[in-house]
Every structure is written in C-alpha cells, then in structure tokens.
Amino acid sequence: MPVKVGILGLQGAVEPHMKALTACGAEPRVVRLPDQIAAVDALIIPGGESTTMGILMERFGVKDALLRHAEQGKPMYGTCAGMILMAKEIEGSDQARLGLMDTRVARNSFGRQVDSFEAAVDVPAVGEEPFRAVFIRAPHVVSGGEGVEVLSVFQERIVLVRQGHLLASAFHPELTDDLRLHRYFLQIVNEL
C-alpha cells in the first residue's frame, strides 16, 4: 500500500512537494480541513509564509488537527516555514505556531530575498553526495534540546533536524530534482 501523505494546503509551495512525493511512489494529497488531516499517515508542512500559515491554522480547527496528528506519533516534515511553525521557540516573535519540536529558530537568518541562495550542503544521513539546497528567506535552528538530532550544518548554522517522527529543514528539497530527503522522510513513515 502506498503511504498516504498529506501536504498542508493553507498556502505555499504545495505543488513541488506533490511532484516529489509522487516520484517517490507515495500517494500525496492536499489537506486543508481537520477531517482531511485525520485521514493521512504522514504530513508535510510546505514552504510559504509562516506568519500567514500560523494565522490560517487558527481558523477552521486546523491547528488542533495538526497537534493530534503529531500526538498520535504520525510523522511530520516541515520545510522552511514548516520548520518555523514546528519549533517551540521563535526568536523575537510571538507568532502562532505548533511548537512540536524542542528547537529554537531564527527567521530570515540569511537575510532578505536578495540574499536568497543555493549551495551544496552535506547531509550524511542521505548519502555522501552533497545536497543542492535552495534557501529562500530561510530560517535556521539556533539550538535544540536533548532529543533533537542535527542532520546538517551549513555556515555554522543548523539547517536540518530530526526529533523522532518529526523532521524539519531550513531549505527546500522540493525545488530541486533530488528526492533523497523525501525518501528519507518516507523511510521514517515506514519505520513506525
């Protein structure tokens, strides 16, 4: 049975994740309402604007459904805005969030849009070959608690973390053709 993966469709780069997951053989679908969220095995929070998504989560009971998903031990992967929303602490901000991961993140920590960049980053967990990572107004993890495993560091900033069934990256694997991180996430789903 292919894994049913929901991509949270409040706003943001939903379609590139759909493509990547389909290419990995999963069964992706866009989820926007609580009953849709309850029906999936795993969930991706895509890139977009974390402030906007945080506000939209508070409408139509979406936030509670996401918290329940994580409580049930179902895997969740946040890219960029998703990493911010999953963090417990966001530097200098009281914006709405899920607060699922024991992490402290800084927003826009590489600068504004004109400083957005691509670079090869090392992600040993998915192989020796460096990962072509796209950073767009990207955050980074300033610090993580005991259960937080650091999977990649770039320019002395933590850019990929895992805490059990939760995964978060500061960059956008969905904007390249490299499927290794999506496969890694699906592996977490299959482990559980």
């Binding site: 469709g9 409040l10 706003q11 943001g12 780069a13 939903v14 379609e15 590139p16 926007r32 890139g47 977009g48 604007e49 402030t51 906007t52 506000i55 939209l56 409408r59 139509f60 960029c80 805005a81 901000s93 914006q95 927003r107 826009n108 504004r112 849009q113 004109v114 400083d115 957005s116 960049f117 691509e118 670079a119 090869a120 980053v121 796209v134 950073f135 767009i136 107004r137 770039f154 320019q155 956008h172 904007l175 390249t176």
Partner: protein, 295 residues
C-alpha cells in the same frame, strides 16, 4: 563551501512560496500591520491605491523610500513595491532598499513607451502584468519571475481580470493543440520567444507562477479567479476602500484557501459590510484604462 545568490531558482522559488496567499496593497505601516494580521502573504507598498491614482490623475511614480522602509520594518512578510514600466533606476533604488519583489506596473505612469526593464540584470525578482499569453511570455523572456494578469486596477470590477485570465489560459490550451512545425509561426504571431512557447506547449502552464490582479473586491471574486486558474490574487483598492478592511481582508484570505469549497465561501462572505463601489469598465474612456499600458 560556495553559495550562489539570487539564482533563477531562488527568484521563482519565492513566487512559489507566495502561492495560495493574498498580496495586499497598503499605503502605510499601519495598514501593513492590519494586512499581516489578517493573513496576507505579502504586502505591496505604494503611496496611493489604484482607485486614488485613478481619481487624482497626474504622474504616478515609485513611492518614497522612507514609507517603504517603514513598512519593511513593521512586518515580517515579504514587501513588494512598484516601479514605472521601463524605469530601471527606480528598480535599482528599490533593490538597494532590499524590497523582496518589484512590480513593474501599469498602475504607475510608464517611463518608457518602447522598452520594459531587463529584469535578468537584477538580483531582486520581478512581477509583471499581462493581458494575454504573448505578453506574459515577453515579460518572462525579459526575466519576470512571476506573472499577474492585469485586470483593470482600481476599478473594483472583476470583468477585466476574468478576460485576461481566460485569455492566458485559452492561449495555453491552443498551443497544446499545435503541431511542432506550427510553433514558429505562432511565436511570430504572438510576438513571444519560441523556446518559451515550446516549453508551455509541453507543460501546459506558464514557466513561472501566474497570479491575478486588478478588480478583485469580494471573497467570491477571489475564488472566481482561483477557479479560473490563478495561483493566487493581488488585492489593491478592494480592501482598504471597503467599509470594514480588517474583516474583508480576512475573508478574502480564507476565500483563496477554500476557493473550491462553496459552503465555506458562503460562511466567510457573510456580513462583510460594503465592498468598494466599483466602476463600469465599458463606459471607461480608452485613455483611462491602465491595462493598455505596456505591450
């Protein structure tokens, strides 16, 4: 390790991140805050909303950098600002300010009647307006990382937005039906780059995100544009020229997210107060139409 700044992928990537969000025109930091709190994904900083530009007449130019900086300091979402068509120095100034997206816009008075800006020459991404597929592909050829159909800005009337979106979409469907040996003639007729034409025929969509602008005044208008194929909407005068901007802004944001769910749309359309009054585009003199600026 080396990194490469402002690549085509990071430019189009930001446009991807804005999909399904609403970009709102604001004229000061206070409005920017209201927009952000209502769930706007980005704000467009400008001195006057299109409805007022239309009313006041005269030459409309890039906004005062001070006002743009105030707005950038007030919100964490990306900030866009407009430059006149062809005015590449206004664009250099906005890039120096660090705005996140530049709109080379027909809402301002054009500075050049023959040439648009060479947008590949900039680090900051650009969005440009279009009325049909040919115009969209010319702008993408020049380096626009996002396209928006023009509509008729400041009219509060969605009819032109619908016309332009349908024109782009039917243009794409038409291309898909062509044989390969018919493509060059089609490129000549559309006045659009051949390679981009071939790409669109293969993928069935524009190479960059396609948003809708110009005339959206209600949640239903926003959902209409989404169902017609827009990947999100710009709302200019429609919010801050309405009776209750805060509630209307929230409702339009929700409408874009639930554009295909009529029962949710019914719920959020309730009790929003007066929309902006709007103009009949049919009786508007040709020279007053902003959509005719640019080519």
């Amino acid at each position: 390790m080396t990194s490469e700044k402002s690549t085509w992928r990071t430019k189009v990537g930001l446009a991807e991140m804005l999909k399904g969000g609403v970009i709102m025109d604001v004229v000061n930091a206070e409005q920017a805050k209201i927009a952000e709190e209502a769930g706007a994904v980005s704000v467009m900083a400008l001195e006057r909303v299109p409805a007022d530009i239309r009313r006041d007449g005269g030459v409309a130019r890039m906004s005062d950098p001070k006002m743009i900086k105030d707005i950038m300091a007030m919100v964490t979402i990306p900030v866009m600002a407009k430059v006149r068509i062809g005015h590449f120095v206004e664009a250099q100034i906005l890039e120096a300010l660090g705005v996140d997206f530049i709109d080379e816009s027909e809402v301002l008075t054009p500075a050049d009647e023959y040439f648009h800006i060479d947008k590949h020459a900039f680090k900051v991404p650009f969005v440009c307006g279009c009325r049909d597929l040919g115009e969209a592909l010319r702008r993408i050829g020049e380096g626009a990382a996002m396209i928006r159909t023009k509509g008729e800005a400041g009219s509060g009337n969605v009819v032109e937005a619908v016309r332009h979106m349908r024109s782009v979409q039917s243009g794409i469907r038409h291309l898909q039906g062509l044989r390969r040996d018919e493509m060059m003639t089609e490129a000549k007729n559309l006045g659009a780059p051949y390679d981009l034409l071939v790409e669109v025929a293969e993928t069935g969509k524009l190479p960059v995100p396609n948003f809708s602008a110009g005339g959206v005044a209600t949640p239903a208008d926003a959902a209409l544009m989404m169902q017609l194929g827009a990947e999100t909407v710009f709302v200019g005068s429609g919010i801050f020229k309405s009776g209750d901007p805060k509630e209307r802004a929230k409702a339009i944001v929700s409408a874009v997210m639930h554009y295909d769910n009529p029962s949710v749309l019914a719920e959020i359309s309730e009790g929003l107060g007066e929309p902006m009054s709007g103009l009949d585009v049919r009786t508007m003199p040709e020279e007053e139409r902003m959509a005719n600026r640019g080519w």
